[in-house]
């Protein structure tokens, strides 16, 4: 699929054609009473501003700080994530998978773009694009190199292809030097990519 | 594309890597000289000469070579026999491999995604696109040209052609019938 973030290089008339078509369809559907523009605005605001990776970062931070929560999360993630108030569309069935010193997890949807919206928001373009979707299952180490991540040669890599409505959340390893940190501060270390498996969490010095 | 190819030709000629006259000769050869008429002659001979027919199916390259056809994309030729029970089709899913020596250059449809993707999975559906329907119990063999072997189909001889000369029979043999996406013409088609 075309990489969207190069869209300013595309023919501008092609994009404004799309803009016009979308606007036209919205007009038609509104005039027919099938959609309510205020509902559309609220949908956009929810996913543009309210639901995002900070949710998942809080889940991971709690798992780092609270062993009992970690156990609940790994056993049955949907209700554990629900304890923080995150739930719903594209997160009805979440499985949390933990990284260890010998196992690194990566999540992909080769067939489309399945992603755990309630904890990570909407997926980035690269996640939905052909390079990631085609290579993550065949050459995960190569993909990690594209992200600047190198794992020890002996680390096993487990790639989860989200072919059903199950949504996967990676629980990265807690960085060293964070003893006694509050959950809020720990959440600052948890990057979105570390919860997909294409990155590692920040370390304390990255925040300084 | 016109500008780009012309520019590249100029550069390569100026560097002395290619000779203009050789380029012209190549184009003339494949545009006018080598074409399906070669293959039609092979088929017409197979229809009339049982010894040639036997040789053709045992050693396509040699038999076809005896008629003066061979060389590039014709070094390893295999002839496939259509019978009332078996219909052969040739494809190159991976690119456009085609028996140039007997059929000339391949048509656009042969090199395009619809034919390359569907022939191995749904040969009857592809034949329908060509207006060809085979009896339900005819076995269809699809040959994917993945190596340097090149395949040509020998269609069945149409009825009502007893005693016809090779030159007359040649007129019945269509290019598509030698790929397997058609049948040879019948005598009434010639009138």
């Amino acid at each position: 699929m075309a990489n969207d973030h190069h869209h300013h290089d595309h023919d501008h008339s092609e994009l404004s054609d799309t803009q016009l078509r979308v606007r036209a369809l919205e007009t038609v559907l509104t005039e027919k009473g099938y959609v309510d523009p205020a509902a559309l605005d609220l949908l956009i605001e929810t996913y543009e501003k309210k639901v995002g990776p900070r949710n998942g970062a809080r889940v991971v931070a709690r798992a780092w700080a609270n062993p009992a929560y970690r156990a609940r999360l790994l056993k049955d993630a949907t209700p554990a994530i629900g304890e923080l108030g995150y739930a719903g569309r594209q997160g009805e069935h979440i499985v949390a998978v933990e990284n260890t010193p010998t196992l690194h997890n990566m999540v992909v949807c080769t067939l489309c773009s399945c992603y755990p919206w309630p904890v990570l928001g909407l997926p980035p373009v690269w996640y939905k694009s052909a390079p990631y979707r085609s290579r993550a299952v065949a050459d995960p180490r190569g993909v990690l190199k594209d992200f600047g991540v190198t794992l020890p040669a002996s680390t096993k890599i487990r790639v989860w292809d989200s072919t059903s409505e199950i949504r996967y959340l990676v629980v990265p390893m807690r960085p060293a030097g964070t003893d006694g940190w509050t959950e809020e501060r720990l959440a600052d270390l948890v990057t979105r990519d570390s919860m997909i498996g294409t990155g590692l969490p920040k370390s304390p010095k990255d925040l300084a | 594309m016109q500008l780009r190819t012309r520019a590249l030709q100029t550069i390569l000629t100026e560097k002395g890597y290619i000779e203009q006259a050789a380029i012209d000769e190549l184009i003339e050869t494949y545009e006018k000289k080598i074409g399906p008429r070669n293959g039609a002659q092979v088929v017409a001979k197979a229809w009339t000469d049982p010894k040639f027919r036997k040789w053709l199916f045992e050693d396509g390259t040699a038999a076809i070579g005896s008629l003066g056809f061979g060389g590039r994309s014709g070094n390893h030729l295999v002839a496939l026999e259509n019978t009332p029970h078996v219909h052969n089709m040739v494809v190159c899913t991976l690119c456009s491999c085609y028996p140039w020596a007997v059929l000339g250059l391949p048509p656009l449809w042969y090199k395009s995604a619809p034919y390359r993707s569907r022939t191995v999975a749904d040969p009857r559906g592809v034949l329908r696109d060509f207006g060809v329907a085979l009896p339900k119990d005819t076995e269809i063999r699809v040959w994917d040209s993945t190596a340097e072997l090149r395949y040509m189909v020998v269609p069945m001889r149409p009825a009502g052609t007893d005693g016809w000369t090779e030159d007359k029979l040649v007129e019945l043999v269509t290019r598509d019938s030698m790929i397997g996406t058609g049948f040879a013409k019948s005598p009434k088609d010639l009138r």
Partner: protein, 220 residues
């Protein structure tokens, strides 16, 4: 379908190129296309499996040259036309020209957060028992439906191990054709990298898919 969406293992697309500080939406029309798609789910009466098929069911040349939301929008237009909710002349005019069809429900602003929060769970009750259990060796079938399936080509015919029995879930292959939910037992099946990609594959990698029971046969 063995279509352009089934990308696992394909070569030629180049490196992954993350965009730094990527915005959620790259254009105003993307926001509208996104919201229209979600909002039309209820009145449109289609299920998520039908919408996925509407997206993937196009020529590879089209699919690979369109951006993500362009595909969403094209699929939305197609589903609306298939159900006669809009017509071509209305798309051209940019206005409703014909009487609207009655629809089951329209999403109101007050319902948005509730509907999002409820989502669309796919687990269904059952008295049946799963055919497989964790540790079983299973082979992914060589099925090639022309319609929607969630069994990618790169695992078909390969042997893996059942990692987990997930539950009894709506079966997309059936649901996408309008033939009903027909739920089945769903499993996570894990494959060794070398099983999938050959002896030169990465010996440290494993790939899993979530596979419905009818995708699998016993391999022990």
């Amino acid at each position: 379908m063995n279509g352009p969406q089934d990308l696992g293992g394909m070569d030629g697309f180049g490196p992954v190129e993350p965009e730094p500080n990527e915005p959620v939406f790259h254009d105003d029309w993307e926001k509208r296309a996104f919201a229209l798609t979600l909002a039309m789910g209820m009145p449109g009466g289609w299920n998520i499996d039908q919408s996925r098929f509407a997206r993937e069911n196009r020529s590879p040349a089209e699919y690979w040259s369109m951006s993500y939301y362009q595909i969403w929008f094209a699929a939305l237009e197609r589903m609306l036309k298939e159900r006669a909710l809009i017509t071509d002349d209305e798309v051209v005019a940019g206005h409703s020209l014909h009487k609207p069809k009655p629809v089951p429900r329209v999403l109101s602003p007050g319902d948005v957060l509730k509907v999002l929060h409820r989502g669309g769970p796919t687990e269904r009750p059952t008295n049946t028992k799963p055919a497989f259990k964790p540790g079983n060796a299973v082979r992914a079938k060589n099925i090639n439906p022309p319609t929607h399936t969630r069994l990618p080509r790169y695992v078909r015919g390969h042997v893996g191990t059942v990692d987990r029995v997930i539950g009894f879930h709506v079966f997309p292959d059936s649901n996408a054709t309008g033939a009903g939910e027909n739920p089945q037992w769903l499993y996570t099946v894990r494959f060794e990298g070398r099983e999938l990609w050959g002896p030169d594959g990465d010996p440290t990698s494993q790939v899993s898919v979530d596979a419905w029971e009818s995708y699998l046969t016993p391999a022990d």
